[in-house]
Every structure is written in structure tokens, then in C-alpha cells.
């Protein structure tokens, strides 16, 4: 083989861009249209209205889903109310068994759910396959076990279910957010009406099938699809006693206002602008991975994304060099390809929001770096991006972009790092990278955020409480703390 070293390298480059390795989709059946899941079965919407849900990677319509109106939501809430009597009086161990069953069914249908999630939302299949779906099953499994042990979670108190929970979830982790909402609610004996996000309703429709397969009593789980208006109908329905919302801070405020004075219980899991802080003694190569995972995971559509990199000035240069090099190895493209690192932006609207904020960053004087990256012609895409020369006052350093865009700022001392990290109305998460144990704890103590990842980032587990400080919301999901929002204590 008389080929030169240079040719070999060129060849290697082509080969290790990897031939397409698409996940098989022939075993997936997406219905051309879906109704609403009310009272244990799929029913046609009273509204007679439908809207398309598209694959953001191709802009092709995947299915049409119903848009629930006031009558539909009322039916769903009434079904949930009717089911509440029997569900809340069912023996706790039976409730547990239903939840265990659901967890198992999610595992059994995991590949189907992963593919549906990826097609409907645009996230890389390796993430839906390795993160979203396994964590969803794990969440049901974890809370299943709590169903008949609630009195041990609240010593000296008698926990009782609240009633019908109205739950509205976002499009970034559709099934996982559904699991975070439904599992603890059901474990505690509540029934639910859930509204999935407008752009990602399909995995919830598969979940409706799973509820039927599990023979879950009718009305315990009801799923109504629609846009923001449907969501408002759900949370403001007078028979809904408990409201749980995950989404933007803007909408969270509207909900808090809308239900003021109603006595409804409320938990909110809202936006973030997390600082990922790298000290000069950090394990740099792992820090780079953590930074990448922190902001480019799920295209940056993550409320706890590490969107502000705070790097100690003394290592800013080598760190940025490593980071830029690493960015160039990220593969953007077909979300169904097993080697894709960065999938499609969830919607055109979100893409435009990201584009607008990135433009503002350039206008305000930050320096934009994007690796060479060919964007597919159809669909919604944004290359992994990194801003340097960012001031704390720039919009890109203050506003949640919810896209694959990192703002890099520097600091000199630990105190300065804390001050800059906390200088935001948000407080969902933070990252710290340092080799010094006492400094990790010192930082963890001072960072005003609900989750602090030290020498790691974006880890999730059903046993680990998640939720924000300040405008990132209140209440915790996960762990024993995640039960509290769904019980009355007497």
C-alpha cells in the first residue's frame, strides 16, 4: 500500500467522520393522528381542532394531534376527579405495583420511545436512548417504591394526597419531564391531567398507550395536547388542586399570577443561566468534557445548562484552546444517527430566538467562535457556538438562550467567581471544577443554586432532588423531597 502519511490522515478524517449509522425506525408506528387520553382511552377532541407535530430535523409532519379546548380540559379534569376517589383509596401497595408496571413497560418499549422522542424533538438518538428513556423508567421505578412507604417519608405526620394535579411540561425532555411529574403524583395517590409541549406530544401519546397496557385505572392519568392556551386551561381549572409547571420563567410568572388566591399548591421548575466555574488546578481534560456536556448536551435545550463558563484567568488560554479543539469534533446532523452529538433545534421559533440572541452578542462586542460545520439544508440547526470577550452585562451572559451557545467569562479569585456566578436572577445549577476538596465545599456552600455539580455536570438521578433558587422556581423533583409537593401533611 503505497500511500503517504498525509493521504492516510486524510483518509482517516473521512472514515472517522463515520458512515451514517442510523437507528432503525421500521419498527416504529406513529399514528397519522392522535386524540386526547381521557378516562383511560383515546377520545376525539370536542374542539375538532388539530395541529401538526413535525420532525425538526426534516420539517416533515409526523402526525396530527388534537388541540384540547375548555370542554376537553374540563372532561379530563373531571375524569381525574372521578378517578381520585378510588385511586387515593386503593391500597398503597397496589398503587406501587401499577407504577412498577409502567416502569417496566417503558423499559420494554425503550427503543420505540427513544426513536419517537428523537424524531419529534430533534435530540440525538444516543441521548434519548442513553439518558431520557432509561431515566424515565428509573423515575417511575423509584417513586413506585415510595407509594406504600409515604408515612416513613414524613415522620410524625399523616401524608394524604391533594387531589387532581394539573401538570404542564416542556419540550426539551418530553418523556423524562412527564415521568418527573406523573410518578411522584401517582405514588402519593393523586390523579393527573398532563399537558405535553406543543412541539413534542408524541412520546406522551406512546405513554398513554403504556397506561392502557398497564391497565391503569381510567382517569388516573389524562393527557391533553395543545399549546399554551390549553396549558392555562389545565392549571386554572377550579378542580385542579395542585399545579406543577416546568418551562420558562416568563410563563412560570404568568401561572403564579393566574392562580393567585386560589389556594392551589404550586411548584415551578423554570429557567437558568448556570455558571460552570473552572479553577486553575482543575482536571482540565475532564473539565472540557464537562463544559461540552454542560452546554451542548441536547443542543443546549436544558434549563440547568452550564451556559456561562467562568474560567480562572491563569488557565483561560489553554482551556479555550482545548475547548475549541473539542468543539471541532462535535458531530452535528441527523438526530437518528448514533454518532450524532448535536441534533436539531426543537422548533423554528426556538431557532430564531437563538439566532437573535447570538446576533445581540456579536453586536454588543463579544467574539463568536463556531467550528467549521455544515448545516443540513432542511430542518432547524444551529452550530455549537462559543463567545469570548463577554461582559457580565451582555444579554448573552444574562438571558437564557436555551441553545448551544456558551459565553466565556474570566475571574481571578474564588470570591470573584462566586460573585459573578450568583449575579443573576436565576439559581438552578452551577458547576465547579477544582482539585482542591476544601474549595469545592467552600464554593458549593456559596453558590446560590439548587444543584451544584462539582467536577462533573448535567448528571441526573431519580433519587437526587432537582430544582431552583430564586427565579429558577421552587419545589424539588426527585428524591424524597419530590414527594412533598404532592402530599397534604396533617
Amino acid at each position: 500500500m503505497a500511500i503517504t502519511k498525509k493521504q492516510t490522515a486524510e483518509l482517516a478524517k473521512q472514515v472517522f467522520e463515520y458512515a451514517p449509522a442510523p437507528e432503525a425506525i421500521d419498527h416504529i408506528k406513529i399514528q397519522p393522528r392522535y386524540g386526547l387520553f381521557i378516562g383511560g382511552r383515546m377520545v376525539d377532541a370536542h374542539s375538532k381542532k388539530r395541529f401538526p407535530t413535525i420532525n425538526p430535523a426534516t420539517e416533515k409532519t409526523l402526525s396530527e394531534v388534537a388541540e384540547a379546548d375548555e370542554v376537553d380540559v374540563d372532561r379530563a379534569v373531571k375524569a381525574a376527579g372521578k378517578a381520585f376517589d378510588s385511586w387515593s383509596h386503593l391500597s398503597a401497595s397496589r398503587r406501587a405495583r401499577y407504577l412498577f408496571r409502567i416502569s417496566r413497560l417503558i423499559q420494554e418499549r425503550s427503543r420505540e420511545l427513544a426513536v419517537v422522542e428523537t424524531m419529534d424533538g430533534g435530540k440525538p438518538i444516543k441521548e434519548s436512548r442513553d439518558v431520557d428513556i432509561p431515566l424515565s423508567a428509573a423515575h417511575f421505578f423509584y417513586y413506585a417504591g415510595w407509594a406504600d412507604k409515604l408515612e416513613w417519608a414524613f415522620p410524625n405526620r399523616k401524608p394524604r394526597p391533594i387531589g387532581v394535579a394539573g401538570q404542564v411540561i416542556p419540550w426539551n425532555f418530553p418523556l423524562l419531564m412527564l415521568a418527573w411529574k406523573i410518578a411522584p403524583a401517582l405514588a402519593a395517590g393523586n390523579t393527573v391531567v398532563l399537558k405535553p409541549a406543543e412541539t413534542t406530544p408524541l412520546s406522551a401519546m406512546v405513554f398513554a398507550e403504556i397506561c392502557m397496557q398497564a391497565e391503569l385505572p381510567p382517569g388516573v392519568v389524562n393527557i391533553v395536547t395543545g399549546a399554551g392556551k390549553t396549558g392555562f386551561l389545565v392549571v386554572s381549572h377550579p378542580h385542579v388542586k395542585k399545579v406543577a409547571f416546568t418551562g420558562s420563567t416568563e410563563v412560570g410568572k404568568l401561572i403564579q399570577r393566574a392562580i393567585a388566591g386560589t389556594g392551589k399548591r404550586l411548584t415551578l421548575e423554570l429557567g437558568g443561566k448556570a455558571a460552570n466555574i473552572v479553577f486553575e488546578d482543575a482536571p482540565l481534560d475532564q473539565a472540557v468534557e464537562g463544559i461540552v456536556n454542560g452546554i451542548y448536551f441536547n443542543q443546549g435545550h436544558v434549563c440547568c445548562a452550564g451556559s456561562r463558563l467562568l474560567v480562572q484567568e491563569s488557565i483561560a488560554e489553554p482551556l479555550l484552546e482545548k475547548l475549541k479543539r473539542r468543539l471541532s469534533t462535535l458531530r452535528l446532523g441527523d438526530p437518528l444517527d448514533k454518532n450524532t452529538d448535536i441534533g436539531a433545534i426543537n422548533s423554528r421559533a426556538q431557532l430564531e430566538k437563538i439566532q437573535g440572541l447570538v446576533e445581540s452578542g456579536v453586536e454588543e462586542g463579544a467574539e463568536l467562535y463556531q467550528p467549521e460545520c455544515v448545516l443540513p439544508e432542511r430542518g432547524f440547526w444551529f452550530p455549537p457556538s462559543l463567545f469570548t470577550n463577554v461582559s457580565q452585562s451582555y444579554r448573552i451572559a444574562r438571558e437564557e438562550i436555551f441553545g448551544p451557545v456558551l459565553s466565556v467569562l474570566t475571574f481571578r479569585t474564588p470570591n470573584e467567581a462566586v460573585e459573578k456566578a450568583n449575579n443573576t436572577p436565576y439559581g438552578l445549577s452551577a458547576g465547579v471544577w477544582t482539585d482542591k476538596g476544601s474549595r469545592i465545599l467552600w464554593m458549593a456552600e456559596r453558590l446560590r443554586a439548587g444543584v451544584v455539580w462539582a467536577n462533573t455536570f448535567n448528571r441526573f438521578d431519580p433519587t437526587s432532588p432537582f430544582g431552583g433558587y430564586k427565579e429558577s422556581g421552587f419545589g424539588r423533583e426527585g428524591g424524597v423531597h419530590g414527594l412533598l409537593p404532592y402530599v397534604e401533611l396533617t
Binding site: 428509573a138 393567585a260 455539580w453 467536577n455 430544582g467 428524591g479
Partner: protein, 268 residues
Amino acid sequence: MDVRKTYKLFLNGEFVRSESGRAYRPDGSVNVPRGSRKDLRDAVRAARTAFPGWAARTAMNRGQILYRAAEMLDGRAAQFLELLGGGVRARRALDQSVEALVWYAGWTDKLPQITGTVNPVAGPYFNFTIPEPTGVVAIVAPEESPLLGLVRRLAPALCGGNVVIALAAESSPLAALTLAEVLATSDVPAGVVNIISGQRKELLPTLASHMDVNAIDVAGCNGNEVKAIEESAAGNIKRVIKLTQREQSPHLIAAFMEMKTVWHPIGV
């Protein structure tokens, strides 16, 4: 001829008149400062400044200070009984107030052991959750229980390391303003508790909409007030604490707390 006391606001560890220069006479005789929006602003500023230091105190130290407050309150029993109108009800309110301070004094160093957790995550990570104070907390004393109603919220809030802006009961503010004297002599650092008297109608909207107040306890508010407060609270996603007035439990302390979860890999 007795030397009368001038009642003042308790603001940043000092006894001051309202910056507005206004006063009102809730019982028809004694002048009480009618706190203004600017007094609240100053109180929040003082509280915010005091917050990191108070939160960083050791749990035992906070416990000792709360216990000291119980000692001081008990030592002024006669004065408070008089302020509360005497009789069995006053006696009970005072006793229960002292008891609440003692009870919560003993909780400072136990709450994290009850509400904190070590979480067995599926991976090589050490993961724990601990309660941390939410920050600046507004408390509205109930009109019908001007001392006990206030102490029962103040103590758990302080217990967890929060700093407080308390609104004295409008119709009977003297107990709250005198409680300030108890706190001032109990080593409570300046700004940690600020007590403002005045008209709820005027002050509640300011408290509820203040962007630097993290939580507001509405146990002392009526339905309409709660609705208005909740609407304003949305401006900065304030925690609105609605547990019942009589609640005395670690859950009430926890209601003023944030749960922080920390992850760290386990490796060699």
C-alpha cells in the same frame, strides 16, 4: 410621673422613627411609627447585607441566640403580659412564644439531619442534599395574635438562617415593637430581624413586589391579601408560605429553606 417609652421601628439593629415622620395611634393613645415604603426598602437592604453573615453562623450559634431570645422574652414577662392585655390568654400566648423560641433553638443543628439526605444515585458519585436558607423573608404578623403569631414564624425563619422583615400587627403593634428590644439584647446581629409597624394596606404591596425579598409568609393575611400578594410575588417568583398559623414543625423551618443538592464523582 413615669418616663414614657417612644415606640420605634427596629431597622438594621437600631431603633428609629419612620423616615416619613408619620405616626398612628392604634389604641387611641400611644403613638406608633407608621412605617413607609422607604422604611421597608431600607429594611430589605439591611437584611440583605446581614444575610450572608447570619447564614454562615454555626447552627449552634444560631441556636444559642434563639435561646437567648427566649431568656430575654421570659425575663420581660410582666411587660409583655401588660402589652397583651393580661389574663389567661396573654399568659398562654407569652408562654407559648417562649416555648416556640426554645423549641426552634433546639432545631438549628438538627434540621439538616432530618431534611437533608444522602442520595444513592446510580453511578460513581457522592450526592447529598442539604437545606439552606432562602434569604430575605417577609413575615406578616396576624392581627389576632400579635406576639405568638409573629414569634411562631420568626423563630423557624431565623432557625434556618434566614433574615426577616416583619410587619407588626397593625391594630396591636406594641408587642412586636417590644419584641425588637428582646432581639436587640439577644445577640441577634444587626439587620437579621427588622420590625416595621404601619398600615398593611400601604406596606403589603411593597413587600410583595420587592424584587429582593425571596419569600413571604402569609399566615397572618386574609384571603384578599393573599391573592394580591401572590400576584405580586410572581414578579420574582417569591416563595409564598401558606402553612397554617398554628404550624409548629420542622416542615415550617423547611418551608423557609431551599434544598441544595451537590454531586461529586467518586474516584481515585
